[in-house]
Symmetry: C2
Subunit: 121 residues, 2 copies
């Protein structure tokens, strides 16, 4: 993945409705789910959702296939993984043990802390 692709993918995910949509698809798994079902779940008008789906699709984060009258959207896990890889790439000049707690991202679940705003400066 190149930087340009990463920026597009990040921008696609950096929006409330789209992040919700994407996470819904991620949770749905490779099977995906019809657009109407997503719209119902998130309470979005169909045209607005269509706009967001397009962004996600252009970013390579989802795929579409038609099933009868419905359009089935599904998350592209390969792109997701490429993006995660890009972000942690070259970490600490090639020494990830300095920054990635368990040596590599993944399987972390125990989040829950809350930091926010100028708490650090």
């Amino acid at each position: 993945m190149e930087r340009t692709d990463a920026v597009i993918a990040l921008a696609a995910l950096a929006q409330d409705s789209r992040l919700d949509t994407y996470r819904l698809l991620v949770a749905a798994g490779p099977e995906g789910m019809p657009a109407g079902e997503v719209a119902a779940a998130l309470g979005l008008p169909p045209n607005t959702l269509s706009f967001h789906f397009d962004r996600l699709r252009q970013a390579g984060l989802v795929t579409v296939r038609r099933a009868g009258r419905s359009m089935i959207y599904a998350a592209r896990f390969d792109t997701m993984n490429a993006l995660l890889g890009f972000l942690t790439d070259n970490c600490c000049g090639g020494k990830p043990e300095k920054c990635l707690p368990s040596g590599a991202p993944g399987k972390r679940k125990p989040q829950g802390g809350k930091r926010r705003e100028k708490a650090d400066a």
Copy 2:
């Protein structure tokens, strides 16, 4: 990490200059590097860079400390890891083996394919 925090972090990274800046800091490791050095490396005017640093800091992605006349910025790896965890969280309804190739993200390097635009629809 909550959804709101994730959106802010993603938006902070979804911009060319900021993604470059952040990756530079990630590569620099926990030590961080002075603002002027980042400005020189990326060829950005100091006020523009300052604006971007602020976004990254508000997103919790970097920290600052003063060292003489310089401000030393450093990546916050805990936030990065929390974000990665949030994105892959609840993957496939709790069955990550369906979507994450090696069972968990991390250590993937062998990217290189290029997909783009309406190649999939």
